[in-house]
Structures are given as C-alpha cells and as structure tokens.
Symmetry: C2
C-alpha cells in the first residue's frame, strides 16, 4: 500500500506539545507501517521560541507566527495545545476557517464553547477531534462514541482528575492532612502551583460536560453540573468513612433515568470499598460506564502526563487523517440546549445516601436532640459510629450514614442541626454514592 503523507501543524509547545512532537518525530515509521499514513510535523507555533525543551525539532519549523500554519495549504490538520479558553478559541476558529481539521486536548474550551466550535467546524466541513481532552491516554471518548453505540448509556462514574485522586489516595493511605498531600502532589508534579482548577472540581466538571454530552446525546454545559471540590476534606472523615466500609473519591457522575432526566455532579463521594473504582489509586483515572446492553464497562489508565496525553492526540491525528473522525463527527447528533435544559435535575432533587459527622457535646440528651432533627426531616439512619473518648471542647465526633435522602431535606436538616446548642461547629456532610456493581447474575 502506498504511503500517504499527512502534514500536521502544532500550536502550543508546552509539555503535551513536546510529547506530540516527539511521537510524530520518533514514531513516524512505525505508525506508517501500521496505518499507511506518514505524519510530518510541518510547523510548531509558540510565543516562546527560545526556551529549551525536551525534544529537538528539525531546523526552521518552530515559529511564533500562526499565519505560517494557517496559510500553508499543505497542512491539513492543526493541533491546538495552547490551553485556556480565549487565545485557544481564537486559534481553533482560525484553523477551521483556514480549512484545517482540528485536534485538541482543551477540555475547558470544549466544555465552555464546544458547541460554537462544533458549529463552525460543520459550516466549514471540518471536524474537531478531542480524545485527549478527557482522561489523557485512555481512549474513553472513542470508547463511548464508537464502542457503545448500540447502548442506551444510563450512567457514568469517573475518576477523571489525577491530582485530586493522588491527594485523596495519599490522605487515605498515609493518613495525611489535605495540605500535606497537596504539597506532595505539587512536589511530584501532579499538581500545579495554583491547583484551584483541579481541587475545586472544575477540571473534572469540564470533562464530565464533554463525556456526558456524547454519552447522553444532549448539549451539556458547565452550568448544568453541580460542582464541589475536595479542599474541605479532612483525614478524620476519610478514616471514619473507611471504618464504615467506604473509600473517598472525587467522582464525576452522570446519570440518566427512564424519563431522560439527567443528573450531573462532581463531588467528593464515599464509595463501597469493594467497588472497582475504589481501587484506582494515585494519579490514575478510571471511568465506569453502564450501557443497556453491555452492562458495566470500565476504562482505566493514566489520565494526564506528557506521553499519555500525546498518545491520545496523535491517535486523533491519525483518525482524522484516515477520515474516521469526520464520519464520527458528522454523525454526532446532540440534542440542542432548548431540549436539554429542562431535563437537568436540580441538585436539591438529587437523592443519595449521606455520611454526616457532628461534634456532639458529651452530655445526656445530645444524640436525642440531633437525631430528633433528622427524624423531623424524615431522614432515616442506616448506620452510626461513635468512638469512646472526648474531643476538643468536650465534644465527641458522632458519625452517621443515612438511607437515601433528597438533598433538599438533608440541607434543611443540617441547617437545623447546626443551630442546636449541643452541637459544636458545622456538621460535615459527604455524599455516599452507591455505584451499581454489575455483579454476576
């Protein structure tokens, strides 16, 4: 089979950009042998053309001039690895208008402006491929979009932020405080100097918006997603939850019920110790998907990092060059915003079980008072834990877990409990997520 040359232009020469350049330069032969396509790096655009990078480019291809890419008609694919939303959006739009197909790892941009970009791509008869935007090297976008087409996808539960998972894993395994675990993650390069986007849960929410969109077939934006981060998690709660059989993970959750009502949430979640997601540790990602025909499918791998993310970008480049991405992109029907909005479940209506910790003053009638409040809100207790011994201010930590409860009822009860004189401080409230294991039947 004759080889076909595919010229690629790269915008953004940071960590992932270096990985992509490295793969194209070093693996061109093996990829050509496998696919019949010979990738050629035609130019690399970055505002910084001076700093040393861990990959050596051929002379003359590094430039700070985007026009070199846009005006070169032999370049058919533009890779946007700028990151952020403003400049990156401009780059993608210009590349689409210049007739290039676009490959990107930019989850924030797609979560916030995806539909505008997809529309522009369609108008220009181009496609946007974004496997690398979710869960790094794990082929999860194609897994959902091409691998499970025959299924009505009813739920997805994902550990899609390696920073948070690294921090929570260390808090769990080493009984570390949040701040210690964060510092360690930063020292190892798993967390940014400003870790806000990760630990606030918003990075996970970006990925959930993209994945839920293709899984459920609705135009989903960040506004549809309830987001709570891991900043306030204490190691005590991880330990108490552990004693009750749970492991704490930051989950991105998408659920669709029989009436097509969709619940979209990112929050710290206690999950059963024997669930397969409970064993996903450190910087790894995993996504469990439930399909009507296939049951549970889980994907596991490295969700970030130079080479895993570059692997997904280059896979997309090949998929675009083969023409498969165009087909998939053209056939990706997503119901518009007008039909979606009314289907999104409000967080107050969400039903889940809860882990509640109160600091209760150690005197007769304490338990009676706050358990009375729960009863008044019709919240039923399914388990409780109180260790002997006295904590700060003559209080003892009392942990309970509840039966399924509406969020709104729980919010009301927590407000009332906080006002009780017998309770010290604000109650801690963490959702328990009962992931339906697809057990043998």
């Amino acid at each position: 089979m004759a080889e076909k040359n595919v010229k690629v232009g790269l915008v953004g020469f940071g960590t992932v950009g270096c990985g992509v350049a490295k793969l194209i330069l070093e693996e061109a032969d093996s990829m050509a042998a496998k696919t019949g396509l010979r990738l050629q790096l035609a130019c690399v655009v970055d505002v910084d053309t001076q700093s040393a990078r861990p990959v050596k480019l051929p002379d003359g291809i590094l430039t700070d001039d985007l026009k070199r890419l846009l005006n070169d008609d032999t370049i058919s694919i533009g890779v946007e690895l700028v990151g952020g939303t403003d400049a990156a959006k401009d780059v993608q739009l210009k590349m689409l208008h210049a007739g290039k197909d676009v490959v990107t790892a930019n989850k924030a941009l797609l979560a916030e402006h995806g539909n505008e970009l997809y529309k522009t791509a369609r108008e220009n008869n181009r496609c946007i491929a974004f496997e690398a935007s979710c869960a790094g090297g794990i082929p999860i976008v194609s897994g959902i979009r091409s691998g499970l087409t025959a299924n009505n996808i009813t739920a997805m539960y994902g550990i899609v932020n390696g920073t948070c998972n690294y921090i929570l894993s260390n808090m769990t395994a080493k009984d570390e405080d949040f701040s210690e675990a964060l510092a360690e993650a930063q020292s190892k390069g798993y967390a940014e100097a400003d870790p806000t986007l990760d630990i606030s849960g918003y990075d996970s929410a970006h990925k959930l918006a993209i994945l839920a969109s293709i899984a459920f077939g609705y135009e989903i934006t960040l506004d549809d997603i309830f987001v709570e981060g891991i900043e306030a998690i204490s190691k005590d709660d991880i330990r108490y939850g552990g004693e009750m059989g749970y492991v704490l993970k930051l989950l991105a959750i998408g659920q669709k019920d029989q009436n097509s009502r969709i619940s979209l949430r990112v929050h710290p979640s206690f999950i059963a110790k024997d669930n397969s997601l409970a064993r996903v540790d450190g910087p790894f990602n995993a996504v469990s998907i439930f399909g009507s025909a296939v049951g549970q499918v889980m994907y596991y791998g490295r969700g970030a990092g130079m080479m895993p993310t570059a692997s997904a970008v280059v896979t997309d480049i090949i998929d675009v060059a083969l023409g498969n991405s165009a087909t998939t992109f053209r056939h990706l029907n997503v119901k518009p915003r007008s039909e979606t909005k009314s289907l999104i479940e409000k967080i107050g209506d969400t039903v889940s079980r809860f882990y509640i910790k109160v600091m209760c003053k150690d005197r007769p009638g304490g338990v009676a008072q706050w358990s009375r409040v729960l009863a008044d809100h019709e919240i039923s207790i399914s388990g409780a834990l109180q260790h002997e011994g006295i904590g700060p201010d003559n209080t003892v930590p009392v942990v309970i877990v509840t039966h399924p409860t509406r969020q709104e009822s729980m919010t009301g009860a927590l407000g009332d409990i906080e006002k009780l004189e017998v309770i010290g401080g604000r109650p801690v409230c963490i959702r328990i997520v009962d992931i339906p294991e697809d057990k043998e039947t």
Copy 2:
C-alpha cells in the same frame, strides 16, 4: 440530517443472534437518532426455523435459505453468528463474494482462518469487523486498533475467558474443588455442557491470536501460542499460592521485546494480589495493555453473554455502515507469516518465576535432595512454605517460588525431582507472572 437505511442479514439465530435481533428491533430509533443510520433486519437465516426464541421477529424474515440473504442486493451487511469453523467459513466466504461486508463474533474461525478470510475480503473490496470476537462487550479490538495507534504495544495480559475466571474465582473464594466449581459454572450457564474449549485454554488462545495480531502487527496463528488449561488446578495450590501473596488466573499473555521477539502463551498464572487483574472476579473479563506512550491501559467488562456480545456486534454493524470499518480494515497492515514465524519465542526459552509444590517424604535429607536438584539446574529459590503436619503416604507438601528461570531449565529440574525416591508423585508447577504495574513515578 436525513436518515440512511442500512439493511442487515443475520446468519445464526442462537443466543447472540437473538440479542442482535433484539437490539436492532428495539433500539433502531435511538441508534438512528445518534448516528443517522436506521438499521433494518432484512432476514435471519438458521437451519432451525421452528424453536421458540426469546425475541419475536417480524413475520416472514426467518428462513433456512442462505440464498435469500446472498441474492438480496439491498442487504449490505451480513452478520455471521453460526459459530464453529466449517459452516461458518463457508457462510462468510459466500457473503464476501456476494458483496456483503461481514460482521462476526467467531473467534475460532478468525484465529484459524482469519488471513484467508481477510484476503478474500480485500479482493472483494469488502471488510470484516470482529469486535465481538474478543471479550464480548468490551470494545477491546477498536481500543487496540484505533485507540492506541500512536503506541508501540509491548505487552498485553488478558483474562478473556469468563468460564475459567468464574471457576477459578469460586475455587479461590469458596475453597471449592475444580469439579465442584465447574458444575456450578455449568448450572449457572457460564460453562457449556462440554466445557473443553474453555477450560483447555483454547478459547483464550483464539482471542489472543486475534488481539496479538492487531496489537503487534504480525500474522499470528494458534500454532504460535503455548496453551495450558486449568483442568489440573487443585484448590490446595490456589490456597498455598494465596498464602504467598498470589491469586491464580488463566491469563492470555502477549509480550514483545526490544528485538521484536514475541512470546504468546495461555496458562494458569499466579499474579500479585494487588495487581488490578487479580481483582477481576466471576465471569468478567479484563485486558491490561502496555503502550510505549500511554503506559498501562486496562479495559474491564462482561466478556460474554447474549446482550454484551450483541452490543459489540451491533456496534460493528454501525461502524461498517458509517464506513469506518472499511478504512480501518484497509489500513490494517499485518506482517505476513514468512516474517512472523522466526520471531515467536519457543516456550522453552520463556523466562518466568515458578510456583513449585512437591510432596516430600517426611524424613531427614528430603529437602536437601530436591533443593540440590534445583541448584544443579541453577534455579534459585526466592520463597518457601511448609506447614507442619503430615499428608498422605507420610509426605508433606512443600511449596517454593523461584527467581526468574528459563522454562527449559525448570522442565529439566522437574523431571529430575520426580525421579527422587524422597518425592511422592509429580511436582506441581505453576508459572508466576510478574505483570509490570504502571505505578506512579
């Protein structure tokens, strides 16, 4: 977007055939909404047109006449779910010659005659899609072929036979004998009345041949694979291995070293308890793949059953109809047999660690004798276990695990040990497979 009709003919109306018919009949609307393709079941061919099935077909489409499918030019895709190799091969060849693209779940046929069929497909400008042939509902074929193109795949470790995994899981969890666990698997429908193909390891080997072919890019046949089944496994060995930190799984293993030498094996394997594959229980399948860029990726899900397998078949039908399968199939370059054969590592050259159990007569000098034999073969012991108490014929079970050892040395040593008067019966020898966990760096 206007819908495009896609007419499908189905050959083989057994369990999976019923699942495929059910999906096409019941999910046509939702799939059309997602993909723009409306699947239509044009005819279902089976020698048995009388038996009751769990799906109701429209009147007049069930027939025992393959010609109805072959001669209907409006049918573009033929699905072969006959199973076995003889009749199924004939059906596939006839469909290809009649100008149909072929979708199949037939791993035995592809493992034994795949290259002949692929050649016929290419000559007729058709494609064969076979996602359902490996690991049921898990999109592992597309995962390797499309999701990891940018990677040099160096190894794969798969639990790809649900029957064996169900049996070994029960032997492990319930301390059952092989025969008990097999009977339970049969009563639950996880094992056939004649379970030979599964428990002998040959079903796993069929899947390994297919997966290794696309992962490594070489034409691989069943003859290239060393196969050992689980029939001889005793619960004692599972228990002793467990005490030493291992879980027993039937693994399908493909490894490629830096010189492109390929090791292909299916055999009972002790793996470390904390490896992610060790936690894959019951009828589930999972495959861990190691790529040069992506690191470890694991896929997990139901490897068999009516609807999971049907999910993969219908996904392939859509992929074929979209034209993606044709592109992928056309670009699937596999090095021919002439280049492959010399690269396959002989089982005697394989290096692994070993679990050895000998029944040693309980008298002075026993250990000295057989450990002398190991030393003579330059086999080094890394761990040992001997419980107090006497077994049958005044012997005690002594378990050792070794450092990495060539299979040939081990085979020699075992022969010599068996001849020792101090040893009762044949030593038990189970390979220990050290799967390289892609740990945080």
